[in-house]
């Protein structure tokens, strides 16, 4: 190897000074990994469908009081006068202006489902956020420091994961009485370990990266390395896990409410609506089929969205996109396909 013909100079420099001379103050914005993921997500039809279902539920939750006002049906007060027929039996869907029918005491099931959506989404999202933050912090600390700190925290996570959570929830509810904050707390407490364990594993490999060593050689402290160097690399897995944790939390909440140890009556939730529907059987099928359906649509929506988000955040799943492209579209829309290919080509591994 000869090192003499080195007069090539530094082409980017001249370019740079030229640009500077032009006086263009416009900085060139890089495409962040999250931006690329979002762009990939936009090409995913399943994600659209799932997001649509979730947005529908969110709208239902947000406009619950409006629905209540529009129909004139209260979610809480029994309405034996107009909510039941002359024999005192609940009305079926479509009867007497009740779109989804009424329950045993004449309350509008649609209004109750809308109010139930508030609880389900609130509990699902809030407990997931709490669990994600706690799980990420504890997981990073365990993975980064290692040693006895890791040993203690890892065993703690194992313990939490192997705990009979329904039992504990029943005990807590009987001691403190069922409430919304307790439900969120219980769900968050039993969810953080799942995230913590994954984050810990990721951190174990991230802390050995050369850029962490580089930061250390610059004099960065442990906190800075954990939050500036390691945390940005954990955003993707935590987002995926969080999205997949929401439906689990919603089902968890419904379970607790079904058992009567969740938010508790009279607040309408999908869980206690299902508990009320117990024993109604095929006679009053609208009691249980509508809360079940909304529960199913919501959890399915979050699960499918989570899958799509994972595909979008992990460029290695390009294969999946390519397969979908080949089988699904059959090359009908070439321009779209080209755009997607260009997009995926820019994605880098890691």
């Amino acid at each position: 190897m000869s090192l003499t013909p080195l007069e090539t100079g530094l082409p980017p420099l001249e370019e740079a000074s030229e640009v500077a001379e032009l006086g263009s103050a416009r900085a060139i914005e890089g495409r962040s990994p999250l931006w690329l993921a979002l762009a990939r997500l936009r090409t995913d039809r399943m994600a659209f469908l799932a997001a649509g279902a979730i947005i529908l539920m969110a709208l239902l939750a947000i406009f619950a009081p409006l629905i209540s006002a529009a129909t004139g049906h209260d979610p809480l007060n029994p309405n034996l006068l107009t909510g039941t027929n002359s024999f005192g039996q609940p009305l079926g869907p479509g009867q007497g202006g009740y779109i989804l029918g009424t329950d045993n005491v004449g309350r509008d099931i649609l209004v109750r489902i809308a109010y139930g959506a508030r609880i389900s989404l609130l509990v699902g999202v809030l407990s997931t956020v709490i669990a994600s933050v706690a799980g990420t912090i504890i997981g990073v600390i365990a993975g980064y420091y290692g040693g006895w700190i890791d040993a203690v925290l890892a065993r703690l996570m194992d313990t939490v994961l192997s705990f009979p959570y329904v039992l504990l929830a029943i005990v807590l509810a009987s001691v403190y009485g069922p409430s919304l904050s307790l439900t969120i707390g219980v769900i968050a407490f039993f969810s953080w370990a799942a995230i913590g364990r994954i984050v810990r594993g990721q951190t174990l490999s991230l802390r050995e990266k050369e850029y962490v060593e580089a930061a250390r050689s610059l004099g960065a402290g442990n906190l800075r390395i954990m939050f500036v160097e390691i945390l940005p690399n954990l955003v993707a897995p935590v987002i995926v896990l969080g999205t997949l944790l929401v439906p689990t939390a919603i089902v968890f909440e419904a379970t607790l409410d079904y058992l009567g140890v969740g938010v508790g009556p009279p607040t309408p939730t999908w869980g206690n609506m299902l508990a009320d529907a117990q024993g109604s059987g095929f006679q009053d099928w609208w009691f249980w089929i509508f809360p079940s359906l909304t529960l199913l649509i919501t959890t399915l929506g979050f699960n499918l969205l989570g899958d799509s988000v994972r595909d979008a955040l992990d460029p290695r799943t390009e294969r999946i996109f390519a397969m979908r492209r080949k089988s699904g579209r059959g090359g009908a829309d070439g321009a779209d396909q080209e755009a997607e290919e260009r997009l995926l080509g820019e994605a880098q591994p890691g």
């Binding site: 090192l3 640009v19 890089g30 610059l218």
Partner: protein, 383 residues
Amino acid sequence: MPDPRSAASSGVEAEPSPAPRPAAEPLLRVENVVKRFPISRGIIFKRQIGQVHAVEGVSLEVPRGETLGLVGETGCGKSTLARCITRLYPLTSGRVVLDGTDISTLSRRQLRRHRRQMQMIFQDPYGSLNPRRRVGSIIGDPLAIHHVADGAGRKRQVQELMEVVGLNPEHYNRFPSEFSGGQRQRIGVARALALRPSLIVCDEPVSALDVSVQAQIINLLEDLQGEFGLTYLFIAHDLAVVEHVSDRVAVMYLGKIVEMAAVRDLFSSPRHPYTVALLSASMIADPDRARSTHRVVLAGDVPSPINPPSGCLFHTRCPKAQPICSVEAPALTVQAGDLAGHVTACHFPVAPGEQMRGAEAEVRQAAADFAAAPLGEAVEGAG
């Protein structure tokens, strides 16, 4: 070559050296540095079953403004030594004196101040830049960590640095994945340069790059050395690169320095048998000269650093080994007839002009046997 950066660097002047030192005091003095990694077994009851002798008593000095090249095979402890000097690893024993201060025993907090004087450029331009962070904030990291500048001031300084290393300052907000390998290494150089250090430890800064890009980065490093009065500890396994950049060269083998001399001296009259073999193994671009040069082939592999050989570490592969070599470790001293500053650790150094014979015949014989044996075919020219 005229310096293309002189105009660009108007705002990035080298700081005057903080305290005038006596001329004799080198910027970096490494004394008897030893680094051993314990090997332990067992999950709960860990017990040490051995140790890797990564660096075994290395001493060297790098005067201000000079470049010391450090060469050796993969696994000889070059990178470990670099990480000991920058205190990424704690030392097992020995001292690292930077600009008159012993930094080997400083606490983390005390060390922070001294880190400003000493930066590192890493081998892998892909691994050493965080893929999730923008280039501007990566280069601005040292400024943020040491509270040198923030906000608009930091951005301005970072863009100046980008210009100094030949990057487009407009790419401030880009991500590392949007740059080529050579550009990424420029980012690494800019980061190392941000605090105006006096010493930069380059841990194989070009060995992961294309040959054409290697030249660009090496030129950049040389230009920056002139411009900012930098001192380099330059680690490489490419002898041509080391010959090009270094003022002095140290050759490492199994965690020890076996020979150290001025670059011209070492390449023209190597004394240690290992250095001779190493130099003879490097490629020569001139075919006429290459034909006339004798290549010394060493027998066997590098011994395990977990269980290093007794006496001279090289005696297991040395063609000149005598009984004393396996008993007594030779000291690193100036050999008879050498210039001052040319030190060699060998009982029987190679005399200038001496034709050293390695295991060429054995290797050739083994190759012939191998070619002849399996299928029984006659291989022409195997001998």
